[in-house]
């Protein structure tokens, strides 16, 4: 949001402000073939993403980066006249505050999430499941709740799907719970956290692209998340009683006993610190920093993770200085066959976001080209004059459009960034406030990322499942869940989409800009 506070009383009222606004809206790039061709970079990227992730099944974010780079080059070939303005628009797009805010929030969230995992948060949840000593019928419902807790703490649904498929899925099979239902419950929990967590990559994108503060988004999102979650919980109890499992000789406790550690539950406090600070209006960097400090302190004081698990300098043997200070817990000299480098949860957590950061910068640049080339306005005018003609139809378009793009693109954060400008524009045209727009955008992004067989969340869960026969002698390949079979059992995902269609048609939760102004990106 560009703002001007200086006012020269000698000028015509608002003349300077309006001149600035008019200048920002003026298209500066002309394309052979008309304004629509300015959509080529983003359009080609979406096709690339569908082919790479949807058809080939390759979930490689860096691959998408190459797709966006090549798309930007192809788009430039269609520029009429000097290519300089096109090149400058790439820079203009990349330097927008929306990209920088998402990047900063992701880096902090990555460090926090990874440190919680290093501190055995999953082990705490495993202990809770073991202590509850529940039977086969209730196991899927309990799995849903615990997976939702983990995903809300670490913000990554993919990480939750891997951790729970590795531990809770085999335990559920041994207990006699329906395998497909347990897997569906794991994915549902992942959807819940991906949608609600302030440290979730999709939550961050949804807030910053819709001019809303992350804490306010989380608080406003709660009403949409909790109703489907309660229905999903009941549905898992009912289905758990109706659907039978497989008979396997073994004890579920055996799976759990290796990794159960009640102290891991201390990280519920770390998670609570971030959520409470963000909702109270603290900047997201401040909120996550406090959570990170608490998490590191718990890890060290309660011996949940050593210093080297969070940060480690592995220096080459030739480094005399490193040898002299190798008594420090975060320094070691690389042995033979070991490569030198920096490691630990802080390092891997932040580094894990690097490909997505580069991709985001390029997609935002592509969106800027579409705006400067007039294609964005043309598509928006068509949508607003033909499709989104009333606020109900506009919100329905936003829900179904986000769901459709996310159903096609495996990596849901990339899909979310690509669709975000449309959600912002359509919603703003009816003065829907930033929270409402962010909630529509993120709920459908999160839900569709964990339902279909080609969705990233399902793929990482299935990949983790494929390692189970090597891990457990009793686990036979026939016990694995077919990703097509799980589609109807991701209850929370389906219910979240249904919730937003209901909200669009009835006005539940709808807020206009005039009702409550969303906090600005500046406050993140």
């Amino acid at each position: 949001m560009a703002r001007r506070d200086d006012d020269d009383p000698g000028d015509e009222p608002f003349e300077a402000e309006l001149a600035e606004v008019a200048e920002q809206d003026e298209p500066t790039i002309e394309f052979y073939g008309g304004k629509g061709v300015s959509a080529l970079p983003i359009g080609l990227f979406i096709v690339w993403a569908i082919v790479q992730s949807g058809l080939f099944g390759i979930s490689d974010t860096t691959g998408l980066v190459i797709g966006m780079l090549l798309s930007l080059i192809v788009g430039m070939l269609f520029v009429r006249g000097n290519w300089k303005s096109y090149a400058n628009t790439i820079f203009e797009g990349m330097t927008q505050r929306v990209a920088a805010t998402a990047i900063v929030a992701w880096l902090w969230a990555g460090m926090f999430a990874s440190t919680l995992q290093a501190g055995g948060f999953v082990d705490g949840l495993v202990w809770a499941a073991s202590a509850l000593d529940i039977g086969a019928a209730l196991f899927p419902a309990a799995t849903f709740i615990l997976a939702a807790l983990l995903a809300t703490g670490i913000g990554t649904g993919y990480g939750t799907a891997v951790a729970f498929t590795t531990l809770f899925f085999p335990a559920g099979v041994l207990l006699g719970a329906s395998p497909v239902l347990v897997f569906g419950a794991i994915l549902s929990g992942a959807v819940f956290g991906d949608n609600l967590a302030p440290v979730s990559d999709t939550t961050i994108v949804s807030a910053v692209t819709q001019d809303a503060d992350i804490g306010g988004v989380v608080a406003s999102r709660f009403k949409y998340a909790i109703v489907p979650a309660i229905i999903a919980f009941v549905a898992y109890i009912v289905a758990g009683n109706l659907m039978e499992g497989i008979e396997v000789a073994g004890q579920a406790r055996e799976v759990f006993v290796q990794s159960a550690n009640p102290a891991g539950l201390l990280h519920l406090v770390s998670m609570g610190v971030v959520i409470a600070s963000a909702v109270r209006g603290r900047h997201i960097v401040e909120a996550i920093s406090w959570g990170l400090i608490v998490a590191v302190a718990f890890n060290l004081v309660f011996d949940l993770a050593g210093p080297a698990e969070m940060l480690l300098f592995r220096a080459p043997a030739r480094s005399g200085v490193a040898d002299a200070v190798s008594w420090l817990p975060i320094v070691e000299v690389a042995g033979s066959g070991e490569s030198a480098g920096v490691a630990g949860s802080l390092y891997s957590g932040a580094a894990g976001f690097f490909p997505l950061i580069v991709l985001t910068l390029l997609i935002v640049a592509g969106a800027r080209i579409m705006i400067r080339g007039g294609g964005f306005a043309a598509l928006q005018d068509w949508l607003l004059s033909r499709v989104a003609t009333t606020v109900t139809r506009a919100e329905t378009t936003m829900v179904l459009g986000t769901a459709a793009v996310n159903a096609m693109i495996t990596i849901n954060t990339a899909a979310e960034i690509a669709i975000a400008p449309y959600i912002s524009t359509i919603g703003r045209r009816f003065n829907l406030n930033g929270y409402r727009r962010a909630n529509i955008l993120d709920a459908n992004t999160s839900a569709l990322g964990y339902i279909f067989p080609w969705a990233g969340g399902v793929l990482v869960g299935v990949a983790a499942m494929q390692g189970l026969p090597d891990q457990y002698a009793w686990f036979e390949p026939g016990m694995m869940v077919n990703p097509v079979a799980v589609v109807p059992y991701v209850f929370h995902g389906w219910l979240l989409v249904a919730m937003f269609l209901f909200a669009a048609w009835t006005g539940f939760g709808r807020e206009y800009v005039a009702d409550r102004e969303a906090g600005e990106v500046e406050r993140a």
Partner: protein
């Protein structure tokens, strides 16, 4: 707004045609700027602005008239706050 109020905000069914009292001041985006008349579309209600302002500009206005039957009204421009950039 307290944290609890933030969680409780929006637990209601909001009309697609909100109404406004004359004299009320509000912040909104200009949504249409065709034919020399700038319009603030808030849901399916419309406020016509007394000055020409490009679409997507955020403004502060004062409502001068509003017909609850047609859900149309008029407003005076008080301040130009900025423009949406994304």
């Amino acid at each position: 707004m307290s944290s609890l109020e933030k969680f409780l905000a929006g637990w209601r069914f909001r009309s697609r045609r909100p109404t406004f009292e004359p004299g009320a001041e509000l912040v909104a985006y200009v949504t249409d700027a065709d034919g020399g008349t700038s319009v603030l579309r808030i849901g399916d209600s419309r406020l016509e602005l007394d000055e020409s302002v490009p679409a997507d500009t955020q403004v502060r206005v004062r409502v001068t008239a509003f017909d609850e039957e047609t859900h149309r009204g008029e407003a005076d421009l008080l301040d130009v706050l900025g423009t949406a950039t994304f």
